[in-house]
Every structure is written in C-alpha cells, then in structure tokens.
Symmetry: C3
Subunit: 273 residues, 3 copies
C-alpha cells in the first residue's frame, strides 16, 4: 500500500503551498523537495488565495503565528476548501497561549481540514478546547503508552468524527486514524526530538503525500508518518560518534531523498489496531 | 577574467544588504560569507535606508514578500540608486500571483537594477508584464534549449536594453547578457533544483560579486553564475550513496567557501554566443 | 565549576523563550536543543507574555527587528522581570541604524537584563549611546588585544555596574564580567566568524545556561561562552579539506550536542583577570 503512495508523490510532484513558521521553514521546503514534491511559501493576505489556487495542497502551521498571517491562513484554507484541495493543520504549541488556542479553534471552525497532525498534548488541547501543552513538546503526563493506547485511540477517532479529518498523533508510538480505523506506527527514533521541527517537517511531508493521493487520505498519511520515522531510523544508523543533532537533521532529509518505494514498504512498521 | 572577480570579493569583503525571504535567508547569509563578503539582513522601513548606506551592495528578493517589506524594498532600492550602489533583483515566483507581478513591476519602475536574476519563466513574466510561472520553478514550456537559445538571447538582450540591467537567466543552460553581449554558462548540476533556494543563493552571491567589481557588472555576474554552478559540480562529486539534498546543500556552500580563483578560472565553462 | 553548569542544563532542561531574527533562528533552536534545553519561538504581542510565563528564561535578539516585534520584546521582557526569569539581550548590529540603537537603548531602559552579549562594537555602542558598528561584525578599530584588554575590562565592568547585567563581549578573546570580577576566555576558532549567527547561537546558549543556573549568572555565562568556543575548536579539528563554513556550522552544533561536562571542564581555557 505505502509503496504506491510514495510512487505517486514522485510521479505527480504536487506543488504544496505552505504557510508556516520561520523557525523550521527551510527544512520543511527541503523535505517537500526530498520526497519529490515542490514547495512554495507565501503568507501575504493579498496573494495566498491565488497561490493556493495554483497548488495541489495546503499546509498550515501555526508555529510563529501573528495577526497578519492568521488572516492569511483563513483565506488560504477557505480557498483550498472551495477548490477541494487537501489541507493539513499543524497546531504547533496550541495550549501554550490563548492566541494559539483561539487561532487553532478558529481555523478548525472555518476550514475543513483533511489531516490534523500534532503531538498528543496539542491534539488533546484542540479536542478539549484547552490544554496542558508545555511549550512545543508533549507533556509527559499525556504520553501514549501500551497501557493507555486504547483510550487514546477512541479519543482520536471521536475527534476525527467531529472534525471530519484524519488525525495523526505523533510521538514514541504514532497513531493515525479516521473515525473508524486506526493505524499504530512504530517507526522513528527518540533522538528525533533533539532536532527542531521534525513535527513541522512531517506535516509538510503529509501535505505532499495526501496531495498526490487525495483518494487515500488515511493511507497516505500513514505513508508520510512511516517515511519520516523510517528516515529517522536510517539516518540514526548513519551517525558517527562525532555527529549530533545538526548532522542528524541533514541525514534524515537525505534519507527521505533517497527513500525508494520498496524501502518504505519493507521498512515500515505499522498495524491496524 | 573570472579569477580577478573572485579575488576582488575576497579582498574587498563587501558588506551586502539583503532584503530577502525567510525560507532561504540563512543559506543566503552563509553563501555571502562563503565567497568572502559579509551579509546584513534588515527589512524594517525605518532602517533600510541607513543600512543600505553603510553597505556596498543591495540584494532584493521577493520570495516571501508582504506589504510591510515591499515598501522597505522600494526605500532601500532608491537609496542604493542615489548612492550608486549595485542592486540585484530576484523576482521569485513572479507571475504566480498578482501581488508578485505588480510588486516586481513596481520595483522595476522605481529602482534602477544592476542585475536581474531569475529562471526563464520569471524573466519572461517580468518582460511581458504577465506570465506562465508555476510556483517558484520554471515552466517546462519555457525551457532554454539548443533550439530556442538564440530566440531567448535576443529576448534577453532586448529586456536588458529596456531595463539597463544585466539579465541572468538561470536553468540547465545559464544566460547572462547586457544589451549587446551574451554569455552562455554550462556549469551546474540538475540535482541543484532539489535544494530550496539555490536561485536565492545565487542572487546573494551575485550581489557580492558585482559589489566587489562594480565596473564589470556583466563579467562579475558571469563569475558569480560560474561559481555557483561549479560549486554544484564539485559538491555533487563529493556525494556518497547515503547523501541527499540536505548534505548537497551544505557541500555546495562548502565548495564556494573553498573555491580558489584558479579553480574557478579552470572549472568555468562559458562562452560568448 | 563549569562542569556543574552544563550538568544542570541537561538535568533541568529549561524551556527558553526566544524572540529572535529570522536569519539564524533555526540554528538557535538546534543549539538550545543540543545543550539539553528546549526552545520556543513566539513574537506576537498577544502571546509573548503568556509564552514567557511558561518558560524559565528569555532571549531577546534584535537581528531583524521590526516595529511589530520591538513591542513584543518590551512586553516579554517586562513579564520576565516580573517573574524573576533570567533575560539575555543580544543587540545585533546596534549602531548600524538609528532604529537599532534606539531600540536597544529602549530595551535597556525598560527591562532589567541578566546578561548582555555582543561584540565589542555593539557593547561600546550600547554603553556610549552611539557607535562605530559596521554591519553585524565588530569594527577592527575596536578589537580587544593584549594591549587594550585592561582598558576594555574596566569599561565593561563599569557598564555592568550601570546596567546590573553580566556583560559578555565576544571576539578573539572573550570577556565576561560583572561589576567586580572579569573572566577572559581563550576558547574558539577564527573560522567561527565565517558562519552566520554564531553570536546569536551563543546568546541562545547563554539563556539556556543561566536559566538552569539562575544563582550563578556570571559563572554560567562563562560556561556558555566556553561551551561555544570549545565546540568551535572540536568542530574545527573535524573538518576535512572539502568542508567549509556550512559543514562547520553543523559540526559546531554537533559538538555541543555531544559535549560532556567533563569535556567542558577539561577543555575550557579561562581565567580571572
């Protein structure tokens, strides 16, 4: 299944409109290129509708949101909905400030998202309308474990039902679900959390995958999550004793660039739960 | 010829004012440093005239333009003209939105540029006032080939005559011309298009070269284009099977850092056409 | 002494709020992660007070300041003061424009900083209210040498007394002082100046160190400066003939990631003067 998803990204090379933060934007652009898609970043209210119109998909990330760009997100999201383009929401740090929470809830209300991707604390905040987010990392108390996984799954499926979006909760174990089906994904490496923006990169990657596979939102999101996690594993094996998080960042993007559909198919560790 | 151009950059170490996008800005700064010049980024309307005044050259890139920074571009450009500083325009994605097209045309009208650098679709849009740009990459239909090269050359020379600027059209074959003379440059590697911002980097590099060689705008632009292309070749030879676009990005900047005038002279592949 | 400082960063993993420029922000985030702390970037006036409240320390960098973010810096700084959080000021390019000078002086007036870190030209400008800054690099005439070091020390201690902040003047020789005690630090490598943002990175690192060691502002600032300089040395030894400033950038962050307290203790070259 995943094999085809990556093949389609490389063959169709969808153009992805990103309204994202200035911290990890360069890595997001290079990740989109690495998987075979093409990025464009544009956030001015006067051009976002037009830019979205020439693209195949839209990725909205609230990482360094501000009053100017929030309005741009709404305009672009509505235009993408009108054109039936897939739209990803990455609610970075939602719950860490009232502005982030209100913005994310406003976006949820005004835009139909195809996929919502965040860590467990962010998704909980979105679903409950207030949260326990500490900064941009997941709160330890929220961690998905073998013990609470079924509880998290039913909560995520409920949220999927409410929003009509595929929900991707990423962490040590990743969960991707729609309202009926959930996949658990076991790829990845804990050192990925020592790099800024692996979550943002995954959201940009997800936008690329679902734009090339619009009829398979759930499966292509699983493919994107597996690609990122597997790249994290491949890159980790490549580390020498002198390498740290900066080289690891580069190696992960390199691994996505070099990933073949066959490699993805064979290296992915996921199952329906 | 090119040997001297690079020598001058390293000896004079010109300070370059960049008003550029937030996607590739870090790479632009490191490329300016790699070639021996010094970067400063500043985009507030209240300071751009002063910043330009202490610099030797100005690089304007509309990659993630917004209402606030467009005005800053105009102010800085006019001040640079007043001081007879060289100014580069990189019309990223012009034609992809009305805002980009109108902004680029406004900049062309209000500022005398020394060099305008873009892909063929961007330059066509600028020259014709409307275009076929798809995102930030050149439209395939616009591609410069052995068959249409003379047509493109006469169009580019015409545009140079109209604007008074050296025109640099970069792609598989690069063309650099003023109204009378055109150089074709054959350096580079196709994998460079898998990295975000090699175009932006080249514009920042060009600003560095022309600022150190203000009496040789055409030749120093050729030198900058050759430096970037040759760095792309050297970096490509260095790639191991596990390397991808992220490592390639670093290796290109590394190659610029290590490039000697002799190496540039010997590795450049260009001719008057 | 320094051993404990780094241990505390790794153990406490303080969350650091950064209001910084879009040029080097990604490297700042990765450096904060590399040393064991956690970064969050947020610059909208509506959220900076809340974001600072959930953090342990604040890092203010005026690298690409604009009217919108200047106000955010003031709000965040006042909130941090109210909560007794350590605050770092990095007055990038102060003296290069009236806006930068006025902003830095305004920040100094309204916020009590814990540490002010800059090159000698920037610190002189701050102390004197006007300056000789050429761009973002130190003016050669200002260079700290064996001959003028005692003069610089008494000037820096005077400025520390006036501001109540630890002063860190970084260059070939680094000086870190409060009003009574000065340390000179001899770590580092001249090639570090060929990378954009090593100064910004050091400020983010300093915010991490002082936030984990709030009762030892002077000593933890020395530890941060030694960490950065030692990482520059370790990374330089790792360079191959093909490596340049881009790889060096990655290797420095890698070296911070891998630095052990013992390595820092043994590799640091500093003395009270």
């Amino acid at each position: 299944m995943l094999e085809e998803m990556l093949k389609n990204v490389r063959e169709k090379s969808p153009l992805i409109h990103n309204i994202t933060n200035y911290v990890t934007v360069n890595d997001c652009a290079n990740v989109v290129l690495a998987c075979g898609a093409s990025p464009i970043m544009a956030d001015d209210q006067k051009e976002v509708a037009e830019i979205t119109s020439i693209c195949t998909g839209l990725n909205i990330n609230i990482g360094t949101l501000n009053t100017r760009t929030i309005e741009s997100m709404v305009i672009a999201g509505k235009k993408a909905n009108e054109l039936h383009h897939p739209v990803v929401l990455d609610p970075v740090g939602v719950g860490a400030s009232t502005l982030r929470t209100q913005t994310a809830l406003k976006l949820l209300k005004e835009i139909q998202f195809s996929v919502i991707r965040g860590n467990i604390s962010e998704i909980k905040t979105l679903a409950l309308g207030s949260g326990t987010t500490k900064g941009v990392d997941a709160n330890l108390a929220d961690k998905v474990t073998a013990e609470n996984i079924h509880e998290v799954v039913s909560f995520a499926q409920e949220f999927s039902k409410k929003t009509g979006a595929v929900i991707a909760i990423t962490g040590a174990i990743d969960l991707v679900c729609n309202e009926n089906i959930t996949y658990a994904i076991y790829n990845g490496h804990e050192m990925m959390s020592s790099i800024t923006g692996t979550g943002c990169q995954l959201s940009a990657l997800t936008a690329s995958f679902i734009s090339a596979n619009p009829d398979y939102l759930l499966e292509s999101t699983v493919a994107a999550v597996c690609t990122m996690g597997l790249a994290g594993e491949i890159a980790h094996e490549r580390l020498t004793p002198l390498d740290g998080n900066a080289s690891y960042r580069n190696y992960i993007i390199d691994a996505i660039y070099n990933m073949t559909p066959k490699q993805l198919q064979e290296g992915s560790q996921y199952k329906k739960i």
